[in-house]
């Protein structure tokens, strides 16, 4: 399994030409939520691949069940990169995805989430959904690490299945936390800004 993981992440990095930049943040195996802008189906795979090997093994990307369970290849890939698949159609009150995520990762793993929900096609990032806020509220001990994904939407845009091997860049920024009593809307705005500002650094 380790071998497959190494090969797959090597291929993902080779194809997407991804460079990882860490700005005011170091790779660590402590429990974290990496939250990123969503531009391509490759996002989860490439962010996961650009983490250092020991961190990667303890990190699970959250991905859409309807996309990653279609067909043998995608199912296999999702199992290799240990994706946590969320059913976007069956979100119910007593089976909220946030609770599922917290339950699944236990006390060891970290998560990669895309708070915009679906991939944005516009050049501007969409508004963040509230999941990140509830994650921060229920697990205040987790570091929330903003991640900016640049150029990956050109490698594999929406609706395409053949990639064009351009170069992309994954920027990890300084962690944020939910402040005591911080309103939901304000926190989500702050989180979105934390991702957006990495673009210019």
């Amino acid at each position: 399994m380790h071998m497959t993981v190494t090969i797959l992440s090597f291929l993902a990095k080779l194809l997407s030409g991804a460079t990882a930049r860490w700005i005011d943040c170091q790779p660590d195996t402590c429990q974290r939520v990496y939250f990123a802008n969503h531009t391509s189906h490759l996002d989860a795979l490439v962010v996961w691949a650009s983490l250092p090997a020991e961190v990667r093994l303890l990190t699970r990307p959250v991905a859409a069940k309807d996309y990653w369970e279609k067909g043998y290849v995608r199912r296999y890939l999702a199992s290799v990169f240990n994706a946590l698949l969320i059913d976007r159609k069956e979100i119910k009150v007593h089976q909220s995805p946030v609770d599922l995520m917290i339950r699944e990762v236990g006390e060891t793993h970290s998560l990669i989430v895309f708070p915009e929900g679906s991939r944005n096609t516009a050049s501007e990032m969409g508004e963040f959904k509230s999941g990140l806020y509830y994650l921060g509220k229920k697990r205040p001990d987790w570091e929330l690490v903003p991640v900016y994904i640049d150029n990956l939407n050109r490698v594999l845009p929406r609706g395409e299945f053949l990639p064009v091997p351009l170069l992309s860049c994954i920027t990890f920024g300084p962690p944020i936390w939910l402040d005591a009593g911080e309103p939901k809307a304000e926190f989500l705005k702050r989180a979105r800004e934390a991702v957006r500002r990495l673009k210019d650094l």
Binding site: G17, T19, R21, N151, R154, P157, R158, E160, L162, P163, V164, P165, L166, L167, S168, C169
Partner: protein, 346 residues
């Protein structure tokens, strides 16, 4: 024998069946001597770079040392690519390595160039069909010259706009197709003429040339690279009148003239690795130097337009392949065609 489109269908068979063309000893003493001298000089340059890096910060400009070390590293890479040709006793390894360099340079070029969603499929074919095809044809040998000299600038250039049009996005159509075409022409088509030199059956006035083609390729790359450095050095020493301040503040007329003249002189001195007489070598070196300068000027203009200094800074951590090969890309086709026209049986 000129190759036709029908030959394309037989490509896989031909590739498997093809053995390296029979030729005289692959590496002759002269080329070996030149290679050894260059490797020695590179070793010294590397040592000097390391020494400068260890000096206290105040005595030398760290930016300049870094740029110097990057250059030396790129030269090692180029030497490795050329040495591969000697080690594998044939041109195939060098063609493959040049192909990979092209692929990476094209990656940098297109990453820097804004494209739209509608260009995606066209780009896919540019990367995975036209780039490998060009190098496969070059690797099949000089009989395919008729095909590889047109497959990109005719068929490729007709295919790209057609495929973009099919995607249904007409916004800035000409501009977008031109950008993709320029990338393919410079990074892939032009560069592929450098390894193509290995397949020429060279003649001199006294009959078939008795030297070896890697020597010629080596002569070419060495002069292009030295021209870059010499122009920079002459510019530092005497530079006053800047050629185009908006494009590059470091390229001056004094640097250009000094560089071109000293490259010509060096080329003349190195005539013994080529099929040229000293006079012919001087003219060839002059052409190489002028085309090389044109190449780095053009690429600077593209970089200015996109607001970056180096292709290397585009994505942090990447070496910036295109920065190193821009002058080779412009000089290779011209050098190849002149050599082919005057020094082979055509």
């Amino acid at each position: 024998m000129e190759a036709s489109l029908a030959d394309l269908a037989r490509l896989p068979v031909l590739l498997l069946a093809q053995a390296d063309p029979p030729r005289h000893a692959w590496l002759d003493v002269r080329t070996g001597v030149l290679l050894a001298v260059v490797l020695g000089l590179l070793g010294i340059a590397y040592g000097a770079g390391e020494y400068l890096r260890r000096l206290p910060e105040s005595s030398v400009n760290p930016g300049m040392v870094r740029a110097f070390s990057l250059r030396v590293r790129a030269w090692w890479m180029m030497c490795a690519i050329l040495t591969a040709a000697f080690l594998f006793q044939g041109p195939t390894a060098t063609v493959v390595l040049f192909g990979l360099v092209s692929f990476w340079a094209l990656r940098e070029f297109i990453t820097l160039t804004p494209t739209r969603m509608g260009d995606h499929r066209a780009l896919f074919w540019v990367f995975f069909l036209f780039t490998p095809l060009q190098y496969v044809l070059v690797g099949l040998g000089i009989e395919y010259y008729g095909l590889y000299s047109i497959v990109v600038p005719v068929y490729g250039f007709l295919f790209i706009p057609a495929r973009v049009a099919l995607a249904g996005d007409y916004k800035r159509f000409l501009e977008r197709t031109a950008k993709i075409q320029a990338g393919l022409l410079v990074c892939v088509y032009s560069l592929s003429y450098a390894p193509a030199l290995l397949y020429l059956e060279l003649q001199t006035a006294a009959g078939p040339w008795r030297g070896t083609n890697p020597g010629l390729l080596f002569f070419f790359i060495l002069l292009v690279q030295l021209n870059d450095v010499l122009q920079y050095l002459w510019g530092k020493l005497l530079g006053k009148r800047v050629i185009a301040p908006a494009i590059s503040a470091s390229k001056t007329w004094e640097g250009f003239c000094g560089g071109v003249l000293s490259t010509t002189l060096l080329g003349t001195v190195l005539w013994w690795v080529t099929p040229f007489t000293p006079w012919q070598a001087a003219i060839m070196a002059l052409i190489i130097a002028i085309m090389g300068s044109a190449g780095s000027m053009t690429m600077s203009a593209i970089k200015r337009d996109r607001g970056v200094k180096d292709y290397g800074t585009l994505v942090e951590g990447h070496a910036g392949v295109l920065d190193r090969i821009d002058s080779i890309c412009f000089a290779a086709p011209v050098f190849f065609h002149i050599t082919r026209y005057y020094f082979t049986d055509v």
